[in-house]
Symmetry: C2
Subunit: 220 residues, 2 copies
DNA sequence: TTGCGTTCGTTACAGGTTCTAACGCACGGA
DNA sequence: TCCGTGCGTTAGAACCTGTAACGAACGCAA
């Protein structure tokens, strides 16, 4: 046989299949009741199994949620990387890719950028995915701010650029990347949280306006 | 006697006192373990009472949390109103008042602007407090953008200005108020959620840079 | 084909939560 | 002084997470 499936033994194949089905049920549950209401017991019952059986596949609730967060980051990084490869890393394209991804499943967005769980710390491989995304963003900003003058906060970032993972972006690009992140998160998170409902205006236009302000030459 | 205390009968006085003590314990608990881990049982045990006694004072967990959200909004509105009265509603002053308030208790900030609970809808009196805050912000922005040219999104807001509650702010002011909200929320929420930890730069400088960009004349 | 060990799913249980129901007591207004 | 309202109690149902011990099935190897 071909070794297409990656995993080899039937047990591993079965185990992987059950793990993904658990995650699918978990996403459904999160979409309806939120991440805080995620119940291993309910997932098991829904799959025709009884309670503690799931502990063969995930060591606990935190373990499952960590896996979901990892998948969410991975999905976002792939979406961003895909548009970067297709549109040549235009900043506007990245922004709208981010919004499309967030609107596709708001709960998935909040799993990453929502209210943090007090005791929880993400493992290293997850933060690594996060810096993948940042690298793509920095690349796009560097193309725009090739020789833009450094802003005040940009020089501050220049002095503390360990987070850029060695990317040779100029200060103005570092500044633009950070404002890209925070401004778009600001609009998106308030929109997804429903704080704009009933206000009457079009959130998409607001987002587009922020993207325009972001890609303009002014104070990035 | 004077009717200073508002409540009259001793029973009402006692009831009010217990209700506030419950809320104090709840805030302590939220500060250490987050809102999702708030336990009525633990609060009761901490107060020397046993479990269901609290249901005399709050009809359930949701009722208590709603009250906490109301208090949080009220506290924010008071803080904003205080600086508006003191500093004459300078936009910068409002921004830093917001950050100070948020840093004073991050969990309280997330209780308002964090991940929304799927089924939950805030009662009308809470949204009323929210528009109090917006009114102050609009007033401050109107002083800045007295006769500023309308932006594209500003005219869109002009056409859907029901959320401004009849405030006679010009389009540029409407636009500035919304970007004030989303941009500062963007920086603040990511900072409070810990997404900047380990990056090395100073979040306060980033916030200040965004405030500067916000109060500048460029694309509001 | 026949073992045999690993892994799976089960039930039983401990301890936690929210919330309802029914009971007794004690406080306060009349 | 009396009596009703309101308070706190215990008991219990229905959930939840997570552990422990048991039996069965599956797959690899001889």
């Amino acid at each position: 046989m071909t070794q297409d499936d990656g995993t080899k033994t039937p047990r591993e194949r079965y185990r992987a299949q059950v793990r993904t089905e658990i995650k699918e049920r978990a996403w459904e549950q999160i979409a309806t009741a939120g991440a805080s209401a995620l119940s291993l017991n309910a997932i098991a019952k829904q799959m025709g199994m009884s309670g503690p059986a799931l502990y063969r596949y995930y060591s606990g609730r935190d373990d499952l949620i960590t896996e979901l967060v990892r998948d969410a980051y991975r999905s976002l990084a792939d979406a961003i990387a895909a548009t970067a490869a297709k549109d040549g890393a235009e900043v506007q394209a990245l922004a709208h890719a981010l919004r499309d991804w967030a609107l596709r499943d708001p709960h998935r967005y909040f799993l990453i950028y929502g209210t943090p769980v007090p005791g929880y710390h993400a493992p290293d491989d997850i933060t690594a995915i996060s810096s993948e995304i940042m690298a793509i963003l920095l690349e796009a900003c560097a193309k725009v701010d090739g020789d833009a003058p450094a802003t005040a906060f940009g020089t501050h970032l220049e002095e503390h650029r360990d987070w850029a993972n060695g990317h040779p972006a100029p200060p103005a690009a570092l500044h633009r990347a950070m404002t890209f992140w925070t401004r778009l998160h600001g609009v998106l998170s308030l929109e997804l949280a429903g704080h704009f409902t009933g206000m009457g205006f079009d959130p998409a236009r607001f987002f587009a306006a922020e993207v325009d302000a972001l890609t303009g030459p002014c104070p990035a």
